[in-house]
């Protein structure tokens, strides 16, 4: 198993990039998704339409096409330079943001109307009700789904290999291409992802237990 001496360092190198892009991406995705999710269930019609269009475009195109577009087309249209990692973070943010907006919208709408009623009977403004009575429980409701989206995002970063982001999948492919050891490369790579994702799932189960 001495191929591991060459392959494992490559995979760990890729892991750093995978984590950088997924954590940063989901962070911005959460901000974007929260704004969008709020807009989706809010009263402002323009905001609602805008959010709907955003979600529609992201859901309607494959992630790999989004990645190629952001990396190769957007820089030309806007006459700017975009590195692979920057493009990758943007794509992940936009992509996870759309799915998070649905999570946020659902969570906000699922908070028991009793909260609104209590707030109104206390004479609180709409804004105060939202900020103090709706968002806190909504946040607790959306945490498991948010973490689930994070796990999905970590796997999605594999697609970014096509815009030459040197994450785990890219390292697997590079190794396979140079050594011809395809079975070793792809099996080790799959197990590598499995171990990481499994660790994340265990963390998720712990979070869920603490919330119940």
């Amino acid at each position: 198993m001495e191929f591991l001496n060459v392959l494992l360092p490559m995979l760990f190198r890729g892991l750093k990039v995978t984590l950088l892009v997924s954590v940063t991406g989901i962070f911005f995705g959460f901000i974007l998704g929260s704004i969008s999710g709020y807009a989706l269930q809010g009263k402002n019609r323009i905001a609602r339409v805008a959010a709907n269009v955003y979600v529609w475009i992201i859901r309607g195109t494959p992630l790999i096409v989004q990645a190629l577009y952001v990396y190769y087309v957007v820089p030309v249209l806007l006459d700017m330079n975009l590195s692979s990692v920057a493009a990758g973070i943007i794509v992940i943010s936009l992509n996870s943001g759309a799915f998070i907006s649905e999570i946020v919208r659902g969570a906000l709408q699922s908070v028991d109307f009793g909260q609104n009623e209590a707030g109104m009977s206390l004479g609180l403004t709409d804004r105060q009700i939202m900020l103090h009575l709706i968002m806190p429980p909504a946040f607790r409701i959306m945490l498991p789904s948010l973490f689930n989206q994070f796990i999905i995002t970590v796997k999605d970063t594999a697609i970014l290999s096509v815009i030459v982001v040197n994450e785990i999948t890219k390292e697997i492919q590079n190794y396979a291409a140079l050594s011809f050891k395809t079975i070793e490369a792809y099996t080790t790579g799959a197990i590598f992802y499995l171990v990481i994702i499994s660790a994340l799932i265990i963390i998720q189960k712990n979070i869920e237990r603490k919330l119940v």
């Binding site: 190769y72 820089p75 030309v76 330079n81 975009l82 590195s83 692979s84 096509v162 030459v164 890219k170 492919q173 590079n174 396979a176 291409a177 140079l178 011809f180 395809t182 079975i183 070793e184 099996t187 799959a190 197990i191 499995l194 499994s198 799932i201 265990i202 189960k205």
Partner: protein
Amino acid sequence: MKKEMKNVLSFIMIISIALLSFTACSSANEGTGGEKKPEGTMGVDENIEGALEGVELSVGTSGLFGPFSFYGEDGSTLKGYDLDLLNEMQKLLGFTIAGGRVEAMDYSALTTSVAKGKVDLALAALCATDERKEVMNFSNIYYDSGLIVSINKETGSKDITGIDSLKSGDYTVAVEKGTASHIYAQANIPSGFIEVHDTITTAYESLEQGKVDALIQDQPGVAYYIKTKNGTKLKMVGEEFNQGQSPYAIAVSFDASKKYPGLMDIFNKALKELSENGKMDELKNKWFE
């Protein structure tokens, strides 16, 4: 605690199954056995016409390397120097192509397929590098070549004068996955500065857009791209290098060589004959005026 135990147990099961597949698969690659001789002559005589009559071979190419192997205007017909050479070899030796057509795939897939015996031969401006020779056979060289550095005329740094400028790790370099350029770059350029593209198309595009500082590819391929691409910003710099590892040969899988002993010999004699009877020169004139 029970849920976590179940998780851990199934996790261990999956790992064990995966590890077992290692041992199963590595032994399956040995011994294709059976020395099957095709009908017709396989003897030592000099006349190789029809020597592979009745033999069926699967052939792969890339379609990614003009003028050796690329797609015509319609986007689906493969053409080029290598396709014509294959044709001439077929006319001379009499073998048939499995499935009636040459399979096209990117370089990494192509070399891996030959290495694993999934494809019997490959013609795609393939460089007979040492790394590849360990996993496949190569015929004699039929076309001379070397690698070359290209930069962007407009955004490229004036300091890049050749391959030596790139070895210090000051510039990002794009290469195509699985090619001799990739192998060379991996060994000579710091890994943080190499961009490995699945196909040469995105590598060229990255250089055109100035996303990378330089690109390494075989000289004939770049020359053809620059000649045919309207408004290209690419230009070649410096001398050709790596000529020892770069000239083109026909790749033949170990499996096919074992199945038809003497196959390499026959191919080499065919290449020699095509060279002697002027066919090679005809092809060179056709594709490289």
